[in-house]
Symmetry: C2
Subunit: 506 residues, 2 copies
């Protein structure tokens, strides 16, 4: 067996190197590349992806997998060998099901769709974008058909990103969320004055913000020997191997949250990458279990840690030393409250913890209805606006701040959005378990100690990479599959207290 | 034909993309990569190089070339089609002559030899490095045998880097240089006091130096829409395509020359890359004609422009505005003299214009003698030290500042050094022709106008890429093959005047 496994690993290592080279080129494109580099860069990226795809879908891989499946059948589910074979098989089958023609049609639709979407958004005119979206809906249907599904076409799409997750399961979860959050949002909105947010807009020197943010994330456990922070238009994290997981941030003088919470969020992703086991390097197991599990790590650090009272008890004194003028008359409690302001807003990426999942639910519902032809593309803006009113109680003034706000629908990618909510829920579900394992967690955070927390995450999440599906991982770490209960309890308690809202019994 | 040429171009485009991706990864390694990234990065680089090598040496390429050679036989030598076929053939034959086993032996010898050399240099003990160098000499001989040569093994090695150049030709050139420079060096050394260099060490604020250098190179014509400047330990220039040719620089508070002249030098390389014709993109013609021709562009801008009197008449006022304190009692003439200080020194990379080529001649002679077994590796330090005394009149205090100073011999790469001298000579030879074509060049430089100069270089050098060999290019641009006469005349006149030495008749 070991010889065949070595052959498979040789191929996977080459694919890994090509994918990591692609990641370096993309990082450079977002951080330092001069404007003139665009054309050649897209050619390089397309060549590298093509070579990686050819290699990872070669007949040889299929042959090796069939032989190895027999030979690993008796091994424990979580053994390295059985897991490499199982996860490589999942990737291989998914990749082989999409024909090269369909893949290039998808790529073409994306690259033509994006400028069309940009123009439509600029002019706040959905009609300009509608034909491209119709094409994308059709392509999403063809992807679902090619991948195959039992009940609903969305099952095939969501399974690409969140293996093992089903549409029905998500619908149940969103129904519970909706029942809990919609009334909470309304309660919070009625007591909006309880939190004063003005301090965040007093002006914070940008270079000092970037330095402070980097200082905070290294204190959380982000290893700069194996990472670095740069500036980009949209913050992201990326990794080129076990020793190189980078983050970017952006900074605004006029709004404090962007830089610090952006950095903590991305460092949460990067610490996940820095925690993968050495034994899974160069195999299909290296990487995050799913976008949702990845988001659980970024959100856990950003919100459950970075927006906690203990965190600000520890960090506020050093923050005030760095920014004495804007913080002159503020204490840690006031600052803790300010960074936790909740209010219904139009734009997903600016939404707070309470309202965020409603933005996702809206998109999940609409993607499903489009896919199942229960909603026509031309009726999408109206459906969007109606639901924004119903879930968040706000009126959408135009398509730019409504249905056209996200880039995702300009390329062919239904099924990505739920990962954001899954991440929020997983983060809270893990945290419930962590609190049981580390009873004095809050006191540790208040002392600026994050080692035990990071060690727990390493052991139960990071080290496994892609070995387990999200639900397999959750079962092992918390004893339960994905459930929204811990997250609902968390926001009810936290925001109930912040806004003086009596917790609503479930 | 067009169909076959298209097939060849498709392969070359893929090779181009892989090589450009390699260049991006190397740039990142030298500029921003965290320490932990080393291992994974070398794996990525090795995979990309291997894939590029496999693709460019495929039998299919040989078959297409044979067919295309017949079909392009009647086309003009400098037509795009004939040139693509001719230059691809040259690369293909060279690449195919080295067996995969020899290539990996070379790679291994390089990666094991470099740390050995580092240790030997640190301890200033050549004996530690001698066994690795013996292996490298043997591998250089095997490369020469594999590539083939008529008269001397070095012919095969130099032809890899400077196509068409021969050992005999270089020996003739170095003999002329030696006859002219050795006495000039001695004359200048006797009048060393004529130039006061102390201003360069007065302390210049590093960030302001970097900013000033970038400002200067953009005024020379380096296009920042298609380039950028970063910091690295060793300055270099690299390019990832027609729209992205980058430079790096380094900066020292205590020595002015490093940053500005480093930036101008690298911008000279990068402007060459920025000037390649669009028609040769993605073919074997894209890139510099040879390391020597590349060096001619960097040296021309660094020395013939950047160290000219007119240049400092134009730039000194803005330099003094940027650094009023260290330049308080200095005028442009004194500064011009200071940056042109000449003195015999131990280290090649710090050598001035006059002495630099003697450092190269020394290495060229020693590489030849080692290769032809006229010199034993164990006797190399003595041979080095004797010649340093004879050519430059100085005593070498230890191996670190002598035979161990350059990284080149730690990997298998005899034949690279002459390119530095060839570059100096080509620069002067081109400049002689440019002065005839642009009679008021000095006045233009004094006014800060570099457009006509850059346009001439674009038209006669840059646009052609690798279409012509160095001598073919020189014949076309200047009517003559490589000759040291213009360079000798230039240094005699310039340094004769600077040091009050009467020009010696040839």
């Amino acid at each position: 067996m070991s010889e065949k496994l070595d052959q498979l690993k040789t191929i996977l290592a080459e694919v890994t190197d090509l994918n990591r080279a692609t990641a370096v080129l993309s990082w450079d494109q977002e951080t330092y590349m001069p404007p003139g580099g665009v054309t050649a860069r897209s050619e390089q990226l397309s060549t590298l992806s093509r070579l990686a795809h050819i290699r990872s879908t070669a007949d040889e891989v299929g042959r090796l997998l069939s032989e190895l499946e027999e030979e690993t059948a008796a091994l424990p589910f979580d053994s390295l060998e059985a897991s490499v074979v199982r996860v490589t098989r999942r990737d291989y089958d998914n990749d082989r099901k999409l024909s090269p023609e369909l893949i290039s049609e998808i790529a073409r639709a994306g690259s033509t769709g994006q400028p069309v979407w940009q123009k439509a958004r600029r002019e706040a005119d959905f009609k300009l974008f509608a034909p491209a979206l119709e094409k994308n809906v059709e392509l999403n249907r063809r992807i679902a058909d090619a991948l195959g599904y039992k009940d609903r076409p969305y099952d095939a799409l969501i399974d690409r990103y969140e293996p093992g997750m089903t549409t029905d399961e998500l619908e149940t979860i969103f129904a519970e969320l909706k029942k809990a959050i919609v009334p909470l949002v309304a309660d919070v909105a009625r007591n909006a004055d309880a939190v004063d947010v003005r301090v965040l807009y007093r002006g914070f020197e940008p270079a000092a913000q970037v330095k402070y943010a980097l200082d905070v994330v290294t204190k959380l456990g982000y290893d700069l020997e194996r990472g670095r922070q740069d500036i980009s238009t949209h913050p992201f994290s990326t990794t080129f191997g076990p020793g190189d997981a980078r983050i970017t941030t952006r900074v605004s003088r006029d709004f404090f949250n962007e830089c610090l919470f952006g950095s903590i969020h991305e460092a949460g992703h990067a610490m996940y990458s820095q925690g993968h086991g050495d034994d899974i390097d160069h195999t299909a197991l290296w990487g995050g279990a799913s976008p949702g599990v990845h988001e659980s790590q970024s959100r856990l650090w950003e919100n459950l840690v970075g927006r906690s009272r203990g965190f600000w008890k520890h960090f506020f004194p050093s923050l005030r030393s760095a920014f004495p003028e804007p913080l002159r008359d503020i204490d840690d409690e006031a600052f803790f409250k300010a960074v936790n302001k909740s209010y219904p807003s139009l734009i997903r990426v600016e939404a707070d913890e309470v309202t965020y999942n409603l933005h996702i639910m809206l998109r999940f519902e609409l993607e499903n209805e489009l896919l199942e032809d229960k909603l026509k593309v031309r009726d999408l803006p109206e459906a969007w606006n109606t639901r924004m009113k119903s879930y968040l109680g706000i009126n959408v003034p135009n398509d730019r701040e409504g249905v056209l706000q996200d880039v995702h629908w300009s390329y062919v990618s239904f099924g990505i959005f739920p990962g954001y909510t899954i991440g929020n829920l997983i983060g809270a579900q893990l945290m419930e378990k962590i609190r049981a394992a580390i009873p004095d967690l809050d006191a540790q955070i208040e002392r600026g100690e994050f080692v035990a927390l990071l060690r727990w995450l390493r052991k139960n999440v990071h080290v496994h990479g892609r070995k387990f599906t999200p639900n397999e991982l959750l079962e092992r770490a918390t004893g339960k599959p994905l459930t929204p209960a811990p997250w609902i309890a968390y926001v009810r308690e936290k925001y109930g207290a912040l806004y003086g809202v009596k917790p609503v019994p479930r």
